[in-house]
Symmetry: C2
């Protein structure tokens, strides 16, 4: 495989942890401290966001941004915003009227720990605050750049992005999707936000059109590999390791590519995507080591 060395794997884990710590500290400081009569919704927003996730999306933002020499104090705020947006999407997707999940990252989902109304409002609050963080002068001195980030995040997470993907996922419970339709679903539902993360680095660093194309190509390969390995994890995984119910997607007739590719075919496709993603970032040399290693680390993910 085209991964540089096994040492890159160990280094990647370190870099991931360091990034998660930095983003967690940023989230801790930007999320309101629960106070006054509306404390409950602020508690729920913190509960769902400060839950020790891997912070993959902020990692993509920060690593893409450092390719172009962006200051970490800017990129970590964009990372925090995208994590808040991701967190809102999980809170709403877990609701009884959606995927009806009781467990997330090994803990009760937000509507279980609080109640449905609070979960809806906490998700709304996180979505709202994500845009507030992006528009704040602390995120970048240029208002043009901040506006582009807002526009791009809104598009990636709207009906032509993440929300559209979740809608198709709900519709997929009514009829079986074709493989092409499943690919569209996954590209919208999880891929669009990964694309935002990598594009955000280029936007913050005012990279070229070629940079934008490279990072977008990387993000697409990465997103698809992520989704395939997530589906494999669900099909084969162990509930305890995953921290959520497994084998659930097949039981609900959820659309995954495992049906189309088979287990071994899906694994091979994920590996092909990881290689292609890494190759795309070859021009960035050593600076892109962590980004190149990341898709390979998915191949044996267990959660």
């Amino acid at each position: 495989m085209s991964m540089d060395t096994a040492a890159d794997f160990a280094k990647l884990q370190e870099t991931l942890k360091a990034c998660a710590r930095e983003v967690d500290a940023t989230l801790e400081s930007v999320l309101p401290k629960p106070a006054d009569l509306q404390a409950r919704v602020q508690e729920a927003a913190r509960y769902s966001t400060l839950s020790g996730g891997k912070r993959l999306r902020p990692f993509l933002v920060m690593q893409s941004a450092q390719l172009f020499g962006v200051k970490p104090e800017y990129s970590r705020r964009v990372g925090a915003a995208v994590e808040m947006l991701h967190s809102y999407s999980l809170v709403h997707d877990d609701l009884p009227c959606m995927d009806d999940d009781d467990l997330r990252r090994g803990r009760p989902t937000t509507h279980k720990a609080f109640d449905e109304a609070t979960a809806v409002l906490a998700g709304d609050a996180l979505l709202t605050q994500a845009f507030e963080v992006l528009a704040d002068p602390g995120t970048h001195p240029s208002a043009e750049i901040r506006c582009r980030l807002v526009t791009h995040l809104a598009q990636s997470s709207g009906t032509f992005g993440m929300i559209g993907g979740q809608m198709i996922d709900m519709e997929a419970e009514k009829r079986t999707l074709e493989p092409d339709e499943i690919r569209l679903l996954q590209r919208l539902k999880t891929g669009a936000l990964f694309e935002f993360c990598c594009a955000a680095g280029v936007i913050l660093g005012e990279g070229s059109k070629t940079d934008h194309d490279n990072l977008l190509s990387y993000a697409r390969d990465f997103g698809l590999a992520f989704q395939i390995t997530d589906d494999l994890l669900d099909a084969l995984g162990d509930a305890e390791k995953a921290g959520k119910a497994v084998g659930k997607d097949a039981g609900q007739g959820k659309a995954t590519l495992i049906g189309a590719y088979g287990i071994e075919g899906a694994r091979a496709e994920a590996e092909r995507l990881a290689k292609h993603a890494a190759d795309t970032l070859a021009p960035y040399g050593d600076k892109a080591r962590a980004l190149r290693a990341l898709p390979f680390s998915l191949l044996d993910r267990q959660s």
Copy 2:
């Protein structure tokens, strides 16, 4: 009363209608045409937004903006954004886990016309697109101004604004609120968005600190008068005229100021607020005629 003439009332109705037509046309053009596999969520977003509302919030934006000579092609986009945000809040507030309403503006609520999952997603999509509209260069040539609009809307609609108010409203079903707490609830739940609307005119038109203070004072009086007359309508109204279930708030033990003031006291308070709001805008002369007339028109509202 300090309303200029009865002719102002007729003129106000005309201006309101013209504004509603303009904003409806803008909403029609910015909301995505339902297409592809995710058409259902886009249909639901259109259903809930293009429902013939009075467009009071866009009216406040456009009228405040014209005090400062802002081009209507800018202010109507901000009006459309705020209406999308208002629409999302209604869709989510109507959900079974929140206020559980079946009827809105005389039609089935979004989760009744579609389903709960689609209603959650349609609300999310409207909230997301509201920020997209504000950040778009079509809304104003200055990115600084667009960022300030995004920041201000996020703050007005977040946990220190509208969402916080809705959370307090849900909590109020558990215990009786004090009059001061009810005032806070109402200021957050409905007042904060009215404040945004009037502040948006000042931001778009780069008005002075005094302008900002004047418009904010007007918005606060207006918001409180609006809430009181809404509560009066609920307490006394006619379900058919209001287009929604009435007498419901008291039945659910919802917090209103009628209990504290009594019917006649509440009416007198609404009238006092309308007068004060109108007086605040005296310095803007004829340009503020419609804004001055508006709070008085609430006093005999029937829907």
